[in-house]
Symmetry: C2
Amino acid sequence: MPTLGIDLGGTFVRAAVVDAKGALISSAKAAVMDRKPQGVVETIAQAAEEAVKRAGVKVDGCGVGAAGQIHKDTGVISVAPNLGWRNVPLGEMLKTRLGYGVKVVNDLSAAAWGELHAGAGRGAQDMLVVFVGSGVGSAIIAGGRLVNGAGGVAGELGHIKVVPGGRLCGCGEHGCLEAYAGGHNLIAQTKELLATGSSRILESLVYDDPDSITPVTLEKAANMGDAGAKEIHERAAQFVAVAVANQVTMLNPARLLLGGGVLAHCPGIRQRVLDGVQAWASQTSREGLLVADAELGDDSGIIGAALLAA
Amino acid sequence: MPTLGIDLGGTFVRAAVVDAKGALISSAKAAVMDRKPQGVVETIAQAAEEAVKRAGVKVDGCGVGAAGQIHKDTGVISVAPNLGWRNVPLGEMLKTRLGYGVKVVNDLSAAAWGELHAGAGRGAQDMLVVFVGSGVGSAIIAGGRLVNGAGGVAGELGHIKVVPGGRLCGCGEHGCLEAYAGGHNLIAQTKELLATGSSRILESLVYDDPDSITPVTLEKAANMGDAGAKEIHERAAQFVAVAVANQVTMLNPARLLLGGGVLAHCPGIRQRVLDGVQAWASQTSREGLLVADAELGDDSGIIGAALLAA
């Protein structure tokens, strides 16, 4: 029977009815106006009911993918930074409201599960999915199962330390991979560079609008020979490449999937990651390794969440 | 019913009969004289039969822990450097000789399984075991299951790259953690330092016998203020500490076990690892984390192998 998949973001809720093979039957979207748990439950329920109505089928079970730290067995969201939540029993609340079983998982885990069953991971049992977008994250599948970790936060690739004591990260710690290579931080570093007044090439690309800067601007400036931009770009690419290569060595996946806006739109960084895996993952761990791009885009999480509830 | 556990090394085979709770009932040891697969099978069988005779009980099933790359489903040893083997179907050969089921696993996986069920890992579902001895390795338990990886080589912590392009490792690649922090390489680096003639303190500890050098010698020289020794020691400790902290961030284990001769006998390095996990593992990943020493010593592998076959 089809199931519901929910993608719970900080500003929007997306709901979709998904069949057992991971195909989207219908979807609906609603804005999160009231961020209090009861308000969000209501928003989810409305989007869910709309999606079910559009699909015109009966559904059984609902999976929710949400950014944050989640207890997989209880469906309690320990921390959801986007929503400012701590210890919200979303699974129970939503179950009461919807009337059927609800499974809550981390958004990247949901995305990886979607790719595993309906995307670029089909057929793999051991997989590492790396996302470099505004943040940096990953999800691990081992022996066909999600690796959640004891507290539900396994896969925090963005918060491994690449420069102990280094650049301050949004998480409050220093020297995290994300502080150097996440999209938000690539932009921040590019703005810092611009503010020094030393980068003519970067200035020529940005004119007087620093807010137009994206990671693509950085890569463009680096490719045009801007020394400062090159340094930021190189460092970020190298840190991601070594980190991913080292996780391939540790986890020995059959498949490595790459996703997220930075990897999709900055081919220079993406290529460095591909080269890095070949150069630095241990020889035995990369035998038989297939590297591919995640292929479901924004739908991966919603499909994965639905399939996890099936 | 009790099972047999086999610890297959390059020079000795140990066999033990182990009960369902992981207690050793009896054991036997035999030297590996003939390293050809058929010869090793015979040596294993003799040790196994001796252990069974001493136990005076019937056994059902046999687990083998061996250093190398092993296909968990088939029991084929793809590569066993100690024995010079490639693609040896040890599981099948031993099954034919012994007359009951045989499971072959990596030696560190066996050791982690032993600690999980009968040692310092009891009660944990998610665990990382790190061994720093002559080499550096690890084993991962996620959701109560061993993470083997697609090719059976997950957990190769010793071969993550800490200095891309750096010091040559025994594996033939450059810049591996093991090349800086494995016991063999700590000794090699200490000998290199001694050969420069610049380290009086080290010289005073070694006299004229470089072959007496162990990782403990290095730590002693570092503690006495030898600048060169300090550098090698600090660098190794820092690399291990960051690597372990980063794996805690990625895997979010409930328990981290430390084992191996270097961590057992060099308290300075061990302490740096403990401090590093506190300083550098992401805050969410170390909530509820328990760090402990592996407690079964040399028996962990044999017990784990037996329990895997139960």
